[in-house]
């Protein structure tokens, strides 16, 4: 049947059909870097090879690891070029300094970290916002319902609470070090999912999604490889990545810096 153009026709176009693959936005979302230079280098190289066009950092740039200054510099450079970044609890602690109520180990790490950072680097951390919204995406370190209170999203109930606190369809948060994906449908039912690395997952915009990419600098799900996620807003798709890195060097530096042995040992096991 030959259609006759112009009669009874309606043009419904979505912008995404007009975008060629080269122009597609790819946002590398990296969180909980924790001063782990080796992990950050590996993740950056991987994301660049994947064609990342934008960057977003969900906080906790420092703490635990031996290279806080280097990591802060890297992030600051990308933020100056347009990347999104929010403040994490470790960043806040580095800015404020340790308090007597903290455990001895935490106090040690915070004081050591503070001593490594120059005033400019501390100023950068101090100026970080608790959340950043860009179009339909919310970036926040811990959750959307109380971004500065550092409550963890530990299950569906927390995830739904966070999703309810924002109009955005896509929330990205860190703080929890294990990769996870939560969603809330139009019918009001929430679900959760442990993502399979390297598998593109469609995130259609008629659902609300809460993405936890997992920690780059201190993975804790039993897999030592560094975590990050690549979000493609035009294609409405996310891919969780795992990037192996030289965790032995990272651990050796932690020991050499005199930081707690436990922080070095856990990198090899990803716990």
């Amino acid at each position: 049947m030959q259609a006759t153009p112009g009669r009874g026709r309606h043009l419904l176009r979505t912008e995404k059909t007009a975008i060629s693959p080269e122009q597609m936005t790819k946002i590398a979302v990296v969180t909980d870097l924790h001063a782990n230079r080796e992990a950050v280098e590996a993740v950056f190289a991987h994301a660049r090879a994947q064609g990342a066009t934008e960057w977003a950092f969900l906080g906790d740039f420092v703490g635990y690891g031996a290279d806080p200054a280097w990591v802060v510099d890297q992030v600051r450079e990308l933020v100056e070029a347009g990347a999104a970044a929010v403040c994490g609890n470790h960043d806040e602690a580095a800015v404020i300094g340790s308090t007597p109520q903290m455990r001895a180990e935490a106090r040690l790490v915070i004081d050591w970290t503070r001593a490594q950072l120059e005033p400019g680097q501390l100023d950068f951390l101090a100026a970080l916002p608790f959340q950043v919204q860009r179009q339909d995406i919310l970036y926040v370190h811990a959750n959307a319902f109380a971004p500065s209170q550092w409550e963890y999203v530990q299950g569906r109930a927390d995830a739904v609470r966070s999703i309810h606190a924002t109009q955005c369809h896509y929330t990205f948060c860190g703080h929890v070090h294990e990769p996870r994906l939560y969603h809330l449908g139009a019918t009001g039912k929430a679900g959760d999912f442990t993502p399979t690395p390297e598998m593109p997952i469609p995130l259609p915009g008629y659902r609300q999604w809460l993405v936890i990419p997992g920690s780059c600098g201190q993975p804790r799900d039993g897999n030592p490889a560094a975590c990050y996620a690549m979000f493609e807003p035009d294609a409405q798709r996310i891919t969780y990545h795992r990037v192996p890195y030289d965790h032995e060097s990272a651990a050796a530096k932690i020991l050499a810096a005199g930081l707690p042995e436990r922080l070095a040992a856990r990198l090899a096991e990803g716990i």
Binding site: A3, G8, T17, G185, A186, K189, F193, P195, M199, G205
Partner: protein
């Protein structure tokens, strides 16, 4: 056209949520619903012939069903001129019917299909092309598979036995391909099965499917079992959504229906009715159809086992059996002529009361990995004794490590390229039998030491002019996962006849292990890139 669907996709928007403590119902989002929730398709004008949606021209409505309508579409450019894409098949647009904005079954089913279809490839699924934004106009554009579904054939049941077996082979082959892609279909029935011109089955409608590596949007959605009543597996009735063997149960229901003209479990419309299949077994097909052969009853009843562990473990194993009916090991299933006794049913009913599935179902990957088909290609007439020993030991070790695997022992009987008359005569028959006897003798130590029961070991003598072609073809047709074969040791012979193993390695789609005799005196140039280690003792054979 739609089959009895209840209680598929139960619509209970205000119903209780199964075990989800997080969120009770849609009500709490009420005041913000205007933002995006249920605001579906309202921006576009009604769909009609000649409309253009996201660059697709609606040419003709092919079907209007309860859940969706189907349109034949073609691509047009911004000005409305035809803009076909090179190499793209004819296209169809599936548009879900959203009734009154409160229809979770359709909404979520559409979401699931939109999520899973782009991840699928191959000839057994319709090629995915595009999807529409839900808030504007929800749709999925995919390849148009011409022709009818299997649904009209139900009207003609009982069908000829050859056709039943043929349907079984084609659908099982398609299912195995789907399961390999980590997807369980969960709504296998005649109206979801179509065929390509070359005969390959195509599985359609992924609205209830489960992808192992994608979020299951249906998991917490409904408090009633999901599926089509007559075809739902017992574990689906119990809310298990990730077991590929559920699809084999549904295929068993289909084969039963096509064989006997009746449904094995009727068409129940209540959960109570659905649960009956946990303890009431169907009337054996042979009681309904006198000419149903025992092997077919064996196959069908094996598919319809209540426990997934007692069914075929993979669709490939089912297809293998249906292609070699004479190799099927008949159990008591094949002999049954009546349902089990009242007493047995009473016992089963008692144990099924409030029964929950015992343990988490294994994933598609797990089931497939532990249920491989291993093919031993044995040149019983020409290979050296050393090589035959080494080959048997290698096969034994592989089967030993894979308790769910099946072993198909294959030998090729060379025949002239033209004129196969010689084989139909007495000499030919006896040669065939002789080769089969040799093959079984070769495998005897394996079957004895490994206790290969219940059809896990089969023998096949292929008659073909070219051994390599015959082996590759057999492996492909039977979806073999691993070929184990010997390398021809005699280099002079290989020089003139060519290497069978190197051809098989080059042309097979699966893993190939090439075995050499342990004490090969001369150092042959390797015929294949997968040499077996040579340092294993050979006295492990009982």
């Amino acid at each position: 056209m739609a089959e009895n669907k209840q209680p598929q996709q139960p619509v209970q928007p205000s119903g209780s949520v199964k075990s989800s403590g997080a969120f009770a119902s849609g009500g709490t989002r009420g005041k913000r619903s205007g933002d995006w929730k249920y605001d579906i398709g309202s921006m576009g004008p009604p769909l009609e012939r000649g409309a253009v949606v996201d660059g697709f021209l609606l040419e003709k409505r092919l079907h209007q069903g309860g859940m969706a309508s189907m349109w034949r579409v073609s691509r047009v450019d911004a000005e409305g001129n035809p803009a076909p894409v090179e190499g793209e098949p004819p296209l169809i647009m599936k548009v879900p019917r959203i009734k009154g904005g409160e229809d979770p079954a359709t909404i979520v089913g559409y979401e699931v299909e939109q999520m899973i279809m782009p991840a699928l490839t191959g000839q057994h699924v319709p090629r995915y092309v595009a999807r529409g934004d839900f808030t504007r106009q929800p749709f999925i554009v995919m390849e148009h598979i011409a022709g009818d579904t299997l649904r009209p054939r139900l009207e003609h049941a009982p069908l000829a036995l050859d056709e039943v077996a043929e349907i079984g082979i084609k659908v099982a082959t398609a299912l195995h391909d789907l399961h390999r892609q980590h997807v369980v279909h969960l709504d296998i029935k005649p109206s979801n099965i179509m065929f390509r011109p070359d005969g390959a089955a195509v599985l359609v409608d992924y609205g209830l499917s489960r992808h192992e590596h994608l979020p299951d949007l249906l998991e917490e959605e409904f408090s009633l079992p999901m599926g089509t009543g007559p075809y739902m597996s017992p574990e689906q009735v119990q809310f298990i959504r990730n077991d590929p063997r559920s699809d084999l149960f549904a295929l068993g229901v289909m084969l039963y229906h096509f064989t006997t003209g009746e449904r094995p479990f009727g068409a129940p419309s209540s959960v109570r009715g659905l649960r009956k299949r946990l303890w009431i077994d169907p009337v054996p097909p042979r009681a309904l159809r006198a000419d149903c052969p025992p092997w077919l009853q064996e196959v069908i009843l094996k598919c319809l086992e209540v426990q997934p562990d007692k069914r075929y473990q993979t669709a490939a194993q089912l297809a293998l059996d249906l292609q070699q009916p004479d190799q099927i090991v008949l159990t008591r299933r094949a002999e049954r002529m009546a349902r089990s006794s009242q007493w047995t049913r009473l016992k089963r009913w008692f144990f099924a009361l409030g029964a929950e599935p015992q343990e988490a179902a294994p994933s598609a990957t797990e089931v497939l990995n532990r249920s491989n088909i291993i093919m031993a290609a044995v040149d019983v007439d020409n290979a050296s004794a050393d090589l035959l020993d080494q080959l048997r030991e290698t096969v034994r070790r592989i089967v030993l490590t894979e308790p769910g695997a099946r072993l198909a022992c294959v030998s090729v009987m060379r025949i002239a390229r033209i004129g196969t008359d010689a084989l139909t005569d007495h000499t030919g028959k006896s040669l065939h039998v002789k080769q089969l006897v040799s093959l079984k003798h070769w495998a005897r130590p394996i079957s004895k030491s490994l206790n290969l029961e219940d059809g896990r070991l089969t023998f096949h003598v292929l008659e073909a002019p070219d051994p390599a072609d015959a082996l590759v073809d057999f492996a492909r047709r039977n979806q073999v996962d691993h070929i184990v074969m010997g390398a021809r040791g005699n280099s002079l012979l290989r020089r003139y006849l060519g290497s069978v193993s190197s051809t098989v390695v080059a042309e097979s789609l699966c893993t190939v292990t090439v075995v050499r005799a342990s004490a090969a005196p001369e150092s042959d140039a390797p015929a294949a890139p997968a040499p077996q280690r040579h340092d294993t003792p050979r006295d492990g054979i009982s």
